[in-house]
């Protein structure tokens, strides 16, 4: 039966939000930026420029100027393979919060700025751009708490909220101005809204709006009806009557309207552009992913990938509790039916356990069912994590109930829940702390940590994000104007490091591939199995196999830097 949440629950939910936000914000300060973030940093400024122009045109009583095809294409043409919502939010956050030095950084922004922006000046640029992701994931933790607390108990909610965020790979993405953590948060929000809408009328339209926002975040959201539909049918079977169909009606109407509203690129030539968008993702280029020693870059991809990766990257205690929670949920459901086989319709059910269970599995199963490429390690199925965390929360809830049953002294009942909650959350917190800031190299206790992951031949990392770790060395070792081969780090990432005063502006980027290596005096290789050839190029062109610097995570090399020997 669903608990009615109290003011104390809302306060706890607020506390969960604040703690998660602070942790993510603090982590982001030392988190290197990634290749895709580089593109989204640029997109954020470009998209914001559209809204800035809209405000100015409206002030001049000429708002229609902002709704021409040319204006839309100028604002949203860049990076239109992904919807615009998150990039617009990154841009808005940047515009409001960043400490502006823009006119002093010509060529480092996608646009030229003659004057400083008037802003609140509270955050540096990168932190301002990343803030929307931080906020969304903190909101996700809050919703996980509310769902767990309402369905089962506060202990369940708190444990689930903590384990949802204290998951190394999700925590990594939750610091970035990218879409993978936001879509996980949106997925949770849609499921939460749908769950409430099963009994509460006003959550029907909210579910529609949130679904639209989810679609406008990333295409993963298109799969949500496929999860919610079967659950809705199950609830109908249990209740012996149809639950409200409202959420689906609003998702199909209001959701689509919100989606289109958030993505001006689709306002012109809608069908053609939407087709192009779908085609881009259906026919996505195959990137490289090392998995148990083999580099995959074309089909067939291993079907075990999402499950094995989850098993080797989530904290083991979280995994064990999730498995225990699943077993307990099924057992409890069977026991309830056995104890009362002739019961009339269970009108109060929302089949919460089933909803959580299928959402724990489905984001991973999408890869299995669609045979999708496996690049991106775990980031494409992050939405599983909050639901696995909820299963773990249920396990804690049931253990606490069983251990403090009837005869147990009151004092034991009081300390048991917090003690168990702290104990089971400790490994997740410790693992997340340990993995920072190189979480894509991190593997769990089962794998043997980063070194164990390397022994198993698992993907070392991707996205060229650990470059931040070599910048202090480069700052002291590179001569003025040194030509540097940056390998997988793109120019937009470097621009941000210069804007943040983390990289000397005189250092030159020699460009891509062989000409870039040949033209450099300092070159790096960011280790992934398929990138080995770049290291061999450096050996050939520099005439040495002796690195000047090896950046490692617990002894596992992640970036190796070479200097051309002086003659």
């Amino acid at each position: 039966m669903i608990r009615v949440l109290t003011r104390a629950d809302r306060r706890l939910a607020g506390a969960v939000f604040v703690v998660a936000l602070l942790a993510l914000f603090a982590g982001g300060r030392t988190q290197g930026n990634s290749r895709d973030e580089g593109y989204y940093f640029d997109a954020a400024e470009l998209y914001w420029s559209y809204y800035g122009d809209l405000v100015e045109n409206t002030a001049r009583l000429q708002p229609t100027k902002s709704f021409t095809r040319a204006a839309i294409e100028r604002g949203f043409g860049y990076n239109h393979e992904h919807p615009a919502l998150m990039k617009s939010l990154f841009g808005l956050s940047w515009r409001v919060f960043h400490k502006c030095h823009c006119p002093e950084q010509p060529g480092r922004h996608p646009l030229g700025y003659a004057k400083k922006h008037t802003t609140l000046g509270l955050l540096d640029e990168e932190a301002a751009l990343r803030l929307p992701t931080n906020v969304l994931v903190a909101l996700m933790a809050m919703l996980v708490y509310l769902l767990g607390a309402a369905a089962w108990s506060r202990a369940a909610g708190l444990v689930a909220a903590t384990l949802a965020v204290a998951a190394p790979r999700l925590f990594f993405d939750a610091q970035l101005a990218a879409f993978d953590a936001p879509i996980a948060a949106m997925w949770v929000a849609v499921v939460y809204a749908y769950w409430r809408a099963l009994d509460e009328r006003e959550w029907g339209w909210r579910c529609g709006v949130i679904f639209g926002l989810a679609l406008a975040t990333k295409h993963n959201a298109f799969f949500l009806p496929a999860v919610l539909g079967p659950h809705w049918l199950f609830v109908a079977w249990q209740r012996r009557r149809l639950p409200p169909f409202r959420p689906f009606i609003y998702m199909a109407t209001l959701g689509v309207a919100v989606y289109l509203l958030c993505w001006p690129w689709l306002w012109f030539d809608t069908v053609h552009r939407f087709r192009e968008y779908v085609s881009f993702h259906v026919n996505h280029v195959y990137y490289n992913m090392e998995y148990f020693g083999r580099n995959y870059n074309k089909p067939p991809f291993p079907l075990s990938f999402p499950y094995a990766m989850t098993a080797l990257t989530l904290p083991v205690t979280t995994l064990v509790l999730s498995a225990l929670g699943s077993v307990m949920l099924v057992r409890d459901w069977l026991a309830a039916r056995r104890d009362n086989p002739n019961a009339a319709a269970d009108t109060g059910t929302r089949a919460t356990g089933l909803l959580v269970g299928i959402n724990a599995l489905f984001p991973m199963a999408i890869l299995t069912v669609t045979r999708a490429p496996i690049f991106g390690a775990t980031k494409h199925f992050h939405a599983s994590i909050p639901f696995l965390a909820l299963l773990a929360g249920y396990a804690v809830h049931r253990l606490v109930l069983a251990l403090s049953d009837g005869d147990a002294p009151i004092s034991r009942r009081r300390w048991l829940a917090p003690a168990l909650a702290v104990l089971v959350c400790a490994p997740a917190a410790a693992e997340t702390w340990r993995s920072h800031p190189y979480a894509l190299t991190h593997y769990n206790l089962l794998a043997g940590g980063p070194a164990g992951g390397a022994d198993l031949g698992m993907n070392r990392q991707f996205w060229g994000y650990p470059t931040l770790g070599i910048l202090p060395w480069l700052g002291t070792h590179a001569r003025a104007g040194a030509p540097v081969y940056w390998h997988d780090t793109n120019q937009a990432q470097l621009n941000m490091y210069v804007r943040e005063n983390r990289l000397r502006p005189d250092i030159v980027n020699t460009g891509l591939e062989e000409p870039g290596v040949r033209a450099s005096d300092i070159a790096m290789v960011i280790h992934e199995k398929h990138f080995n050839k770049y290291e061999y190029w450096i050996w050939d062109f520099y005439g040495t196999a002796r690195p000047s610097l090896v950046l490692d995570d617990e002894g596992v090399p992640i970036v190796t830097v070479y200097e051309r020997p002086r003659k």
Binding site: L403, A426, P427, L445, W539, D540, E554, G555
Partner: protein
Amino acid sequence: MKERASKFAVAAAALVALLALVETAVALTAGARVAPASDWDAAAAEVRAGFGPGDLIAFAPAWADQVGRAHLGDLVTVEMAGRSDADRYARVWEVSIRGSHAPEVAGARLVKESRHGRVRVALYEKPAAHVVWDFTAHADEARVTQTPGTSPPTGGNETPCYADPGPSWRCPGSRLERRTLEIDYRPRRGILAPAESARATHLAFTEVPLGARLVVYAGIHDYYARKNGSGLVDLALVVDGKELLAARVANSDGWKRYEIDTRALAGGRHTVRFDLGATDPAWRNLGFHAEARQ
């Protein structure tokens, strides 16, 4: 029933608590289990003190290679790092962590070993192959030509490829070079010879001393070529006009070893030619290395 459930709950809670404590402790102490730079420095000092010409240094596990070379890279030449095998080395210094062993020491005799904190140094000895002629090392002595289709060079039908320092050769549609190749994601020192459309490429070496056998390695260079192309590359080895090897090299071959008995030719000087071509030459970056061994 209730008692049984309670016992289950106590057992489950105890196991979860134990797991949580172990996982937390392992996470918090992970840094202490990593070999510090001082251990690597001490190990490197020992290797450097005993290292002699013709010795090999191998790091284990393979992923620790960069860390090892950061400490001993002055002794690990590009040729050593890109070796095809360890056959020519009589002594192998194995520098390892985490109890790993380099494949190069399999079957070798352990002479001595020592520990420097978390880094182990071991010296192994084994019989070494005597290399009479290394075609990659002597690549600058090759004459490179092309002929139409699959026809063998007859003198009149050859188009010469022009040599550049490096060494490398500019052919009409490709460039041959001595390089450190990426074959099966590992470094292999050899000659990069991309296949061309409707032309066969020939590398001829004259006055080559031969021993008891010729050892040839071949494979497709570059993961991107292996991803985008799938055709076979024909590789032939011709000694004094007689074909001794005809191989078809595929993506899946890795760095494939071929061994040819040349005892009948040992002692004298010979003309050795490598012919290569492909009917589907797209992305066919053949890489090969060969040695005449005693």
